[in-house]
Symmetry: C2
Subunit: 390 residues, 2 copies
């Protein structure tokens, strides 16, 4: 179960013909209320796609009753025609669901700089609206169809759900396999809940959750122009959730989706957790971990099962975090290969054959810690991103 797990939501995923592959490529998630709470986190990339510009306007209105998402084209750098396409998409959804276009968020993903075919989108919205009106629109199958329709280079749909003993539920879906590095958010994510919470409460919980989950996924260092994380609240459970419990559950759900995204990152052969401890501040810990996660030499070494810890320290040294360069420890998969800037255990003891890799860096400069999740750099990544436009 995913976005349809909470009460008050229906979903649909249909084939509009935008994807060359002919698969599902248009999704709609509808909030039936009684509440229309919503919170969003958008990309911090200054080159924002038309659907992001549109959705920012919708959020200023404060009421969200539906979100429509398409794969097969990012509708970014497509000028005024592209913005009209986004607007017309929202209008089409609004017309079919008898709501206002200003209550419809729009997300797009795919190639930048190409116009979307509005005719195909309109037809797809028609099909989706038929599905939304069917009896099965709140089923797990409907949620799965929506999660499948937003996939681009993803190989599997990503879904998660959680039900509180208090009686409310959260559900979510996500897509993203490349251009995975956050500004505030990364990728497309839709999360729904039937907890009774207003938009302000949702916003607080969402920012708290994304800061330590999606924001700390950095698969390939490339920030998308279309990233949007949306949290919709229907209030249909009738249960006023404890904000702290809700935030914790939301964070856990976002974490689950984050690790699903990492596991399906383009061409990856390893899931790498860069754990920095002993940092002077959390910001320092994130900065150091992110520097390592963006080193192509480190990433290729991991692909080659080579515990080349010199490449870790070379990346650490490019940052301005607080540390003594000759007081750093590094352990890889439990083997302490470097202590206080000198070789310790032989690198040959490190086993990098499992998919899961943990690099532990102790800066010995404080008590703060942070983890960045990244992937290795592989032939398959190069193949996927050189042989196909995406």
């Amino acid at each position: 179960m995913s976005v349809t797990a909470p009460a008050g939501f229906t979903a649909a995923g249909v084939t509009a013909g935008l994807k060359k592959s002919g698969g599902l490529d248009l999704a709609v998630v509808r909030n039936l209320g009684p509440l229309t709470s919503a919170a969003t986190v958008f990309t911090t990339n200054r080159c924002k796609a038309n659907p992001v510009i549109w959705s920012e306007q919708v959020m200023r209105g404060g009421v969200v009753r539906a979100i429509v998402l398409n794969s097969g084209g990012a509708n970014c750098y497509t000028g005024s025609i592209g913005f009209q396409t986004t607007h017309a998409t929202a209008e089409a959804v609004a017309g079919r669901l008898e709501i206002s276009a200003g209550e419809v968020l729009v997300c797009s993903t795919g190639l930048i700089g190409e116009q979307l075919d509005l005719g195909k989108i309109t037809a797809g919205v028609w099909d989706a609206s038929l599905a939304l009106h069917a009896g099965s629109a709140a089923s797990a199958d409907a949620g799965l169809a929506a999660a499948t329709a937003i996939m681009t280079t993803d190989t599997t749909p990503k879904q998660s759900a959680h039900t509180s003993p208090a009686g409310w539920t959260i559900g979510g879906m996500a897509k993203g396999a490349g251009m995975l590095a956050p500004g505030l958010a990364t990728m497309l994510v839709v999360i729904t809940t039937d907890a009774v919470l207003d938009s302000g409460q949702l916003d607080t919980a969402l920012r708290q959750a994304t800061r330590v989950t999606f924001d700390r996924l950095d698969s390939d260092g490339c920030m998308s122009t279309n990233d949007t994380v949306t949290l919709l609240g229907s209030g249909a459970s009738g249960v006023a959730a404890d904000p702290a419990e809700f935030a914790a559950a939301l964070t856990a759900l976002c974490q689950d989706l984050t690790l699903q995204l990492q596991a399906d990152a383009e061409g990856s052969a390893h899931d790498v957790a860069i754990v920095v401890q002993g940092a002077d501040s959390e910001t320092d810990a994130v900065t150091v971990a992110r520097a390592v996660s963006r080193s192509n030499l480190f990433k290729t070494a991991i692909f080659g099962n080579d515990p080349n810890w010199g490449r870790v320290l070379a990346a650490v040294g490019t940052t301005q975090a607080v540390f003594d360069p000759y007081g750093i420890d590094v352990a890889i998969n439990g083997v302490q290969v470097c202590t206080a800037g000198e070789p310790d255990q032989p690198r040959e003891l490190v086993d990098l054959s499992p998919r899961a890799v943990t690099v532990l860096i102790d800066l010995h400069a404080g008590a703060a810690t942070a983890t960045i999740w990244t992937n290795d750099l592989t032939h398959a990544y190069v193949e996927e991103n050189s042989a196909y436009s995406s």
Copy 2:
């Protein structure tokens, strides 16, 4: 001709046995004077190798009579034993050349976190000193041997020389194929001149030259721990060079070496010039160009001969430079694919089959311009950096 082109310099390149391949791996360049002027630019990586720490001390002494360089090991993160190895290397050179160890710069390149074999180095220094005392030590062949001995994953030695009508000469050699991204400098470079210039004048000219040449080469985004650019002056021509003419000639020579490094970057299939114009400041132009040069999605697209300009703009959008995101033009190899943030000429018109690629980005925000030289991201890069420790 390279470092032996100017009068007053001898060079040697020998096999010390540090490289597994068994090739030349230790070089010495000697300044016979009468001047002992010197200027250096070191990596800004805070994780500095032992030879960098040593050479910074030598520069404070102000007199440089020789520089010894080895491949086959970076001597970085090797602790006090590693520093003793560097010190002993300088002592060995000093003993053989009857100069002071404090007048000997040391450079090392290769794998981080492994001790160098001092016995091999000492034997290599002995052989090098014999070569330096031979009659051919000032020949082009001696310069070539030195340039060859500093190669790691380089496939060809890099040399350049220039003689002024005024009667003075500059010569240089460089190595570097991976970890190519500058702090102040990048890679190992030794430049010699017989112009009569003091160390202050050399320093001014060197910083002026590296700022717009080596500093603007960003092949793989990874900054080395060992980067050192050295300029040695013998004054042996007896000609006091015009500082402006000298600086211009030095910049041209550094540019030549920079493009040789780019052309031999690990696994590269394209040499890419990212030219930013219309920037509010030179800093902005560099920032934007560097962001594009570090986008793995852009780099893989170029490898695939795919003029995916959306990936250019997505990278531009991650910066804080002054620009209107919807006022940017992009041309690739002369085809204007994007005007004012909208599609212009069809991307199919772009021919990316030649090795040389120029991406021209006009920010329309001012009059400043800058170029960053980079490479594509290829299967061969992944292979070279995953299959071998370096």
